[in-house]
Subunit: 393 residues, 2 copies
């Protein structure tokens, strides 16, 4: 045991699908002392965090708070509270996290119908309409920002569609929140979950969720107890409501972090935040294309915060990622599932969506590609990004 | 949203049942940058943390790691992985957390038999033997340190007893780890869970668990999938094993904290740590008795780290706790469940188990009791504690 020394590690730049670099202001609140989970001053912090979170989600939903686990705990919270044995669900699958939703939903005993699209594509509302018509499910689940493919699923029409068929709309916003437009109330989303370690630039550890009145009504009509006690909203909401009933000990420090991450979001403003992600994405995309890379998602459906590109023929996935990490201290994401070995996932999320990061990454990637025999004019990646930024002045 | 200002709060001394004050060395690692959850340097941190945790639990169990949630997620992990519909479980209930175990176990669809004792008492092995003989359960669940009553349940004989009846022994060590003796292998405990925010002096957010070979065998024979995907050990162990398969994004910062908390434990040594808790408990107890308070648990079964005492007749629970908090910035715990309004829970855990804390608390409590009309020689609490410390020199 004596061999385990003081904590020490290399200073990384985290450009994968998350976690991303934590904003310095958030790091500083992480070192603040812990308060009790029923301390009146901490309860104020909870109220403030909820208020900020409702603003970030653009909702007035009372049931808006973070679950004490990571994004995947948020996914499970939605499924186990809204589904029970015998219910029907339609899950849209066009990537790894759509698959996950189907798996997690099926563990409730619900009958899950998978609506599939090839990885990297998005769903057309007409196909969803047909599925709703045929299956008549209790809920439809879909991923807004598919972290495995970088595809951006439009949601605007789906809320109204689901209401037409009396289905709940459940959205995975893990990679969306704090990066791209999201409006729970306007879009009529009934349940949603996200995480802290992507667009909000916090460490991982909490899963913000929100449930609307239709979801609350459905939960009120359950015939059986929620199979997870830890994620049971019928009890959890009594801690987050006026009762302040003890359920479990909230991860206090992570709440400080989430509050600060949300403060940063609101100081910047939602629209300026989204615009910033789009601008730096375009600069990165110009550079990546100049380096000969192509996106897996179609133009118009590419997530600005997560750039998923094909690994060029003849280029060794592992060698490039290892060199980026060892020589440049830059982490990017490998391909997941059917994209394994075929794609890289390059994240520019929250704090990391900055011109300096874009330029630094393109310069480093060019060196790694060159070592793999990829040819082209020196500096072309950085030049293309710079040209884009200049054109925006 | 603009009304939510910079994070700021009163400097508390946390002498409730947890969270407790975080050790300064742990606070300092909380502000370190986040690493990726598959970064080779982070994987080393995971390995080190597991090694330290095995030492703390006194086990060689391969399946020893923290769950990404709080202590209650640890409880649920044990129940949902070891039980499935139709299984039988015996749960020992002599407090709030025994009740919880029964509730969480029952949500698996298992048939739960509650073995009850009055709150504050412990279980005699003979009674447990009778229950095992009668019910022939798949598992027996028991709380080592009952956080609601401050009672210390001896475990030494229970492992052998459970093996005699081919039952698994599941232990709640949430308030035990890092405070009182605990030896998984020697005591033949099959599954155990704890937390980070008590004896380990970390913030809340992780639940260390450990599963022995008999538990692993039982999990291998399951007929159904684990009802919680988030807590499914059959998948989780592939991230914690050599595969390093992505399951969810580990709460990175909390892992730094746990590693540091365990380093502090091993630097001090397990036995010296337990002795320190006992010594400061005895000083506190001398002071509390001098102030006219009495323990709810019997002598010989009182937890050194959590002192649960009856609120004297005529003393207002809420007024005293509010004054301790407002005037002295000291938090203690209120009574839970059937002890609500009748008991206080005073924690001296990990970093907070120190003579300076004992004396400061006794001095403050005396003032609050005096304001409630409790009479006695001024300074008697502090004097009794000082006498005890002097007698130990």
């Amino acid at each position: 045991m004596s061999t385990v020394g003081q904590l020490s590690f290399s200073p990384r730049l985290l450009l994968g699908p998350g976690p991303c670099d934590v904003h310095p202001r958030i790091l500083s609140v992480m070192a603040m002392p812990v308060l009790g989970h029923l301390d009146p001053e901490f309860l104020t912090i909870l109220n403030e965090t909820q208020e900020l979170l409702r603003g970030a989600f653009q909702t007035s939903n009372r049931l808006t708070f973070p679950i004490s686990g990571t994004g995947m705990a948020g996914m499970e919270t939605c499924m186990v509270n809204l589904l029970e044995r015998g219910d029907r669900a339609v899950v849209c699958v066009a990537g790894f996290f759509g698959e996950r939703m189907a798996e997690v939903a099926s563990r409730t005993g619900a009958e899950v119908t998978r609506l599939e699209q090839p990885w990297g594509q998005v769903f057309d509302p007409q196909r969803i309409r047909e599925a709703l018509q045929k299956v008549r499910p209790k809920l439809l689940a879909i991923v807004q920002a598919e972290t495995s493919t970088g595809a951006w699923q439009p949601l605007e029409e789906l809320g109204a569609l689901c209401r037409e068929f009396d289905a709940l709309l459940v959205v995975d916003a893990v990679t969306a929140l704090g990066c791209i437009p999201l409006a729970i109330d306007e879009w009529k989303i009934d349940a949603i979950y996200s995480c802290t370690q992507k667009g909000l630039s916090c460490p991982p550890g909490l899963a913000p969720v929100s449930f609307g009145p239709r979801a609350a009504e459905a939960m009120g009509k359950r015939k059986t107890k929620v199979q997870s006690w830890y994620l049971d909203l019928s009890i959890l909401q009594r801690y987050w409501g006026e009762d302040r009933l003890y359920h479990h000990t909230t991860p206090i420090t992570m709440m400080y972090a989430l509050r600060e991450g949300l403060r940063l979001l609101h100081e910047e403003g939602l629209r300026p935040r989204w615009d910033r992600h789009l601008r730096n994405h375009k600069a990165l995309a110009a550079g990546l294309v100049a380096l000969g890379l192509s996106y897996t998602a179609a133009e118009g459906h590419r997530l600005p915060q997560l750039n998923v590109v094909r690994i060029p023929d003849g280029v060794d996935d592992g060698v490039v990622r290892k060199r980026l990490l060892d020589e440049f201290n830059i982490e990017i994401g490998s391909g997941l599932g059917s994209f394994k070995g075929k794609a890289w996932r390059i994240g520019l999320m929250g704090y990391n969506s900055r011109p300096a990061v874009v330029l630094q990454f393109l310069a480093a990637l060019e060196q790694c590609l060159q070592a793999q025999g990829v040819k082209g004019a020196p500096g072309r990646g950085v030049a293309a990004a710079n040209d884009f930024y200049s054109s925006q002045k």
